[in-house]
């Protein structure tokens, strides 16, 4: 029988009947310390994530504020455009009146003397009428744009309000997570006091415990296989030093000798 096989048998023998009882208080403490440490780290991560979300929300609020400003700017531009259109309309109405009076003057002069004046006046009035129709169309477009801008403003202001709500909620979440972090830190220090366990040692101990259980499980499965001896022999370069280490560690300890 190889050394590895003997080691495995001894290990199995030791753990066989009372494997759950093998969990020593120090291992339980180590697992507890490790779990608390992980919870503490998770709380810190959550706090960091909520702070990042808060920063993103602040950026979003800035973008929405800029959008609201842009919409306001659009309203100002539209007012300016409307004012220019009104001025153009007024000037065109004046030109139409001048053309009417020119036509009247031509009519007073009689035919044929006043005929050219009447014709030119008619032509000018027709052009003015066409341009006024175009201005009406522009005004219609501006009216439509005003309605769309109103909708846009409502939507952007709604998004702004929702963003402010989100920011408030995020602040509450951050405050709650700070409380959680602080509470976890308190729990951690109390666990350390109670268990008198150094966190690094606890982590190593917990890891070693996990690995030992995993190793035992794997070796047990291998040992149940049809070709256990060659397989276990193949493992002897790895298991040999482990067995030696365990022997040295547990020498003289009746409960722990493998």
């Amino acid at each position: 029988m190889s050394r590895a096989s003997r080691f495995l048998d001894a290990l199995r023998e030791t753990l066989k009947d009372n494997a759950p009882m093998m969990r020593s208080t120090s291992v339980d403490d180590a697992l507890l310390v490790r779990a608390v440490s992980k919870a503490e780290q998770a709380a810190e991560s959550a706090l960091g994530a909520s702070q990042a979300a808060g920063a993103a929300s602040a950026q979003q609020r800035g973008t929405l504020d800029a959008a609201v400003d842009a919409v306001r700017q659009l309203f100002t531009r539209a007012r300016e455009a409307r004012s220019s259109l009104a001025l153009s309309r007024e000037s065109l109405e004046q030109i139409r009146l001048v053309a009417l009076n020119a036509g009247l003057e031509g009519a007073r002069l009689g035919d044929p003397t006043g005929k050219p004046l009447v014709l030119v006046a008619d032509d000018v009035r027709n052009h003015v009428t066409r341009v006024l129709a175009a201005l009406d169309a522009h005004t219609g477009v501006l009216d439509q744009m005003d309605r769309e801008r109103d909708k846009l403003r409502e939507q952007v202001e709604g998004a702004q309000a929702r963003s402010a709500d989100l920011a408030r909620e995020l602040l509450q979440v951050q405050a709650a997570q700070r409380d959680v972090s602080s509470a976890m830190s308190d729990v951690s220090s109390r666990v350390k006091q109670v268990t008198e366990t150094d966190p690094e040692t606890a982590a190593l101990l917990a890891d070693a415990s996990d690995h030992a259980r995993a190793l035992l499980g794997a070796l047990t499965k291998l040992a149940e296989g049809p070709r256990r001896s060659p397989v276990l022999r193949a493992l002897s370069p790895s298991l040999g030093p482990l067995a030696k280490l365990l022997r040295e560690q547990y020498r003289g300890d009746p409960d722990g000798a493998p």
């Binding site: 036509g103 009519a107 009689g110 005929k115 006046a121 008619d122």
Partner: protein, 117 residues
């Protein structure tokens, strides 16, 4: 033979013809100042005050001659100015006969309306 030279106006939605010899000028409807005790208003047109009868809600004021008086007719809209084909007492405009606009009758109408009030 009548020449048909003048203006075609819309007065309270109806077209009327006003001969050129009865018209002095057409201006945009100015601000009218009511005169207490009179059915007419006063308007400041080209540097002088003239009596104005309000004929409707159109954008123009036509300064015309009624008898020997200068009087304005406000609230009309001038649709055309020039030579039109004479037709009956009026003219043809855009294929329809347009009857003449009687300034004196308009002034009487305004006075009657004021006396009823």
């Amino acid at each position: 033979m009548r020449s048909g030279a003048g203006l075609v106006l819309s007065v309270r939605g109806e077209r009327r013809y006003l001969p050129a010899l009865l018209v002095q000028t057409v201006v945009a409807r100015p601000r009218l100042s009511p005169v207490p005790g009179s059915p007419l208003s006063l308007a400041w047109v080209s540097g002088r005050a003239i009596a104005v009868a309000e004929a409707g809600s159109g954008p123009h004021l036509v300064v015309c001659v009624a008898g020997n008086e200068i009087v304005g007719v406000a609230g009309v809209e001038v649709d055309g100015a020039g030579f039109f084909t004479p037709q009956g007492d009026g003219v043809l405009f855009e294929g329809s006969e347009v009857p003449p606009f009687d300034v004196a009758a308009e002034l009487e109408r305004v006075q009657e309306a004021a006396s009823k009030e």
